[in-house]
């Protein structure tokens, strides 16, 4: 044994004493991989040298299934990709097929879609914020977030009968009109929900320990974020002012007055875990604004009039993207003129956002990997499709 530190270092340098890296298998069953993700961590002590993600534990061949289904039959499959934001998934797919067929949907449908999508965004962000808190070790905010998410799910349930996987937005319309008193329910929810944001801020987001754990951790510079194709809160957390709802407007987002939230590095460096987290918190506020404005001018009308009897898009292809809570959800749909899509490719934001994890994790500690993974906010259903 080496007696002193110098002797120890000499021994290591001379090769008499070997140090080695440790490979730690994090997942597929692990409390904080948010599903069945397997991360192979190469560690030097507690510091991470390399992260090798292994995906596919939840691969269900969405794209293969889609080729064997008719166009409307694909919609329930899209629900199951990002199962925390099923409304937004429906929305993207419905938009893609509508554009392929050149369908204009009625005003009322657009409004309902927007309100549903924004409610879903709040619900999804609540899960992201809560689980991120739990990854850092704070359990209570998680339940506060889930309590509020419950109100949203109740609204969805009253409208379409489902709480998680809705199959609600159809090509050209919706499966059901909203229930009686929908506007009242949503307005009531917004009124109750706004104070919660402050509650979560007080309890979690501005907690000294929380900031210590998340600020300056997993810094993602803007150019790297763009090169890796990161989108959504991931990209905005890095200070890139880019939101599809404003910069590539779809549906009727251009009619509303709201702000794109961007990470400013208030607690540390721009693009750290805290920024990504706070972008989600601020976005919930903006979603509330959009919903309130949409409720003010909520039109009457028939929601089924644009639903085509026979969905058989002309030959062609289209790439449509919408702003999911997690980022850019793209559908690349190729039609060969038959009633089944020739090819449906889904570009899941979680899949792309996850690919950056190795880049931003190196040199951090194991505990930071958990924080980084939590701030990326992946849904494995979408990563693996």
């Amino acid at each position: 044994m080496s007696e002193t530190l110098e002797a120890l270092q000499e021994d290591i340098a001379a090769g008499r004493l070997q140090t080695d890296e440790l490979v730690l298998n994090m997942g597929p069953q692990h409390p904080s991989t948010h599903g069945v993700l397997r991360l192979e961590l190469v560690l030097d002590g507690e510091a991470v040298v390399k992260v090798i993600p292994h995906l596919g534990y939840l691969h269900r061949c969405f794209e293969k299934h889609a080729e064997a289904m008719t166009y409307p039959q694909v919609i329930p499959y899209t629900d199951r990709m990002d199962y925390l934001a099923a409304m937004n998934n429906n929305h993207g797919y419905a938009l893609a097929v509508e554009r392929l067929m050149g369908i204009e949907v009625p005003e009322r449908v657009e409004y309902i879609r927007i309100i549903m999508a924004e409610l879903q965004r709040i619900a999804s962000h609540l899960v992201a914020i809560g689980t991120f808190g739990m990854d850092i070790g704070a359990f209570t905010p998680f339940l506060y977030c889930f309590r509020d998410r419950e109100y949203i799910l109740d609204i969805f349930e009253r409208t379409c009968g489902a709480r998680l996987l809705y199959n609600y937005m159809w090509v050209g319309g919706l499966s059901h009109d909203v229930h009686d008193g929908f506007e009242k329910d949503v307005a009531e929810f917004i009124r109750k929900f706004r104070p919660t944001i402050k509650e979560v801020n007080d309890l979690l987001n501005y907690n000294k320990i929380f900031i210590e754990r998340t600020a300056n951790v997993g810094v993602l510079p803007p150019d790297v974020a763009i090169s890796y194709g990161c989108s959504g809160p991931m990209l905005r957390g890095s200070g890139v002012d880019f939101d599809l709802r404003r910069d590539d407007p779809y549906s009727i987002y251009d009619r509303f007055d709201w702000e794109v939230c961007v990470g400013k590095g208030d607690a540390g460096t721009v693009g750290d875990c805290w920024d990504r987290h706070m972008v989600r918190v601020w976005e919930m506020e903006q979603s509330c604004n959009i919903i309130e404005q949409a409720l003010e001018s909520f039109p009457e009308g028939d929601i089924t009039e644009a639903i085509p009897k026979r969905i058989r898009p002309p030959k062609g292809e289209i790439y449509t993207r919408v702003e999911n809570p997690r980022g850019e959800l793209g559908y690349y749909v190729i039609s060969d003129g038959s009633q089944n899509p020739f090819r449906v490719k889904a570009r899941g934001p979680s899949f792309v956002n996850l690919s950056v994890i190795d880049e931003i994790s190196r040199g951090h500690l194991i505990a930071d990997i958990v924080a980084i993974l939590g701030s990326v906010d992946i849904v494995l259903g979408e990563v693996d499709r």
Binding site: F139, T140, L143, Y144, L203, N207, I209, R213, I366, V370
Partner: protein, 370 residues
């Protein structure tokens, strides 16, 4: 207390065993209460009800939990070091329980009235580290090993400031005997250490007289700081939030006891809860008068029933201890978790310098004022 038992059962081995087992009875009852308290308190903090099915308001839930643990299969991983793996949980509980020997539950009951009580408490507390290391190493699991390494580093580091806080009180009282430390704080609550210690001369349990006067108020800020720091280190030594890094669920699954199930897990669990009460009780003893009534008088004295005084004293200690256990639970459900390097920073660069500073000032003042 010992004499009472002796008069009932005679001076034999049974008496001795019973005498030693008294804290165990208390500990088991307390563990049941604490398990229920943990689930119920967390539930109320989180806008939910907690267990409601087992008994009215779920009050027999802890019994159901214990039954579940008893029935569980006792798994030993194939490549574990079986001897160490099986020994570790019992050693861990033993270490926690052995420390109860010097805890004075009342002026009449203390397992072993050592004049080195405070020192013994520190020494036996460190034994837990060995148990944790054994568990982590023997499990043959990387998560366990990481948990154990972190835990050992954490406990060993935090023992330094914890010991310094003890030394501060010991310096002031001039005795390592915990019973002496408590007696020094007898009388109303303003005589407690956290309020600057006794304000008039007191006779210690050992017979010596501790000279004191109202000038002791100068110690108030020092002891208040010492109390806060001791409580923080106590949280760290019991591996509770925000210092629950060794078993950080979201990182290390559950640290050194990842591979344990059934009774062996229950042993670790018991030892964690026992440690929680232990550090809470020691906090109460060092800074909050131990078994002293905050009013300075006992109902037993008023009604002339000496047996009641002992019970009251035990009640006060249990109340104070449980209150600090409650605060530990409260913190757990409020705060996030620190990172391992921040934890070490906090210990070596914040707590230790401050604790040495306070110890220096207290030592100086003690010399000057006496």
């Amino acid at each position: 207390m010992e004499s009472l038992l002796q008069s009932l059962l005679g001076d034999n081995l049974l008496t001795l065993v019973l005498y030693c087992a008294l804290p165990l009875v208390f500990l088991l009852l307390y563990a049941l209460l604490a398990i229920l308290g943990e689930v119920k308190i967390s539930a109320f903090m989180q806008d939910r009800l907690g267990p409601m099915r087992t008994g009215p308001w779920g009050i027999i839930q802890p019994l159901a939990d214990v039954l579940k643990l008893l029935q569980k299969e006792d798994v030993t991983p194939a490549r574990a070091d079986k001897f160490l793996f099986n020994l570790a949980p019992y050693l861990s509980f033993m270490a926690a329980y052995a420390a109860f020997a010097v805890i004075p539950f009342s002026s009449q009951y203390v397992g072993a009235d050592l004049n080195l009580g405070a020192f013994y408490f520190l020494a036996i507390g460190s034994l837990n580290v060995a148990a944790i290391m054994m568990a982590g190493w023997a499990s043959h699991n990387k998560y366990s090993l990481y948990g154990a390494m972190r835990s050992v580093a954490q406990i060993v580091s935090y023992e330094v400031p914890a010991a310094m806080m003890l030394v501060i009180v010991v310096l002031f009282v001039g005795s390592l005997n915990l019973q002496d430390i408590i007696t020094a704080q007898s009388g109303p609550f303003w005589n407690w250490m956290v309020f600057g210690g006794p304000k008039a001369d007191v006779q210690l349990a050992s017979g010596e007289v501790l000279g004191a006067s109202w000038t002791n108020l100068v110690f108030l800020p020092l002891f208040l700081g010492a109390f806060l720091m001791y409580y923080i280190t106590a949280l760290a030594e019991t591996n509770r939030t925000p210092f629950d890094i060794p078993e950080a669920e979201s990182e290390l699954v559950s640290g050194y006891h990842t591979e344990y199930s059934g009774m062996k897990f229950a042993m670790f669990f018991m030892s964690e809860y026992a440690n929680m009460f232990l550090v809470s009780a020691v906090t109460a003893i060092l800074f909050f008068g131990g078994w002293n009534s905050p009013f300075g008088v006992y109902l037993g004295d008023i009604w002339d029933a000496q047996w009641l005084v002992g019970l009251e004293q035990f009640g006060w200690l249990a109340f104070k201890g449980l209150f600090f256990v409650f605060v530990i639970i409260w913190l757990r459900w409020t705060l996030p978790r620190l990172r391992v390097d921040q934890l070490m920073y906090m210990c070596w660069k914040v707590l230790i310098p401050f604790s040495f500073g306070i110890a220096l000032i207290v030592g100086f003042l003690v010399v000057v004022l006496k």
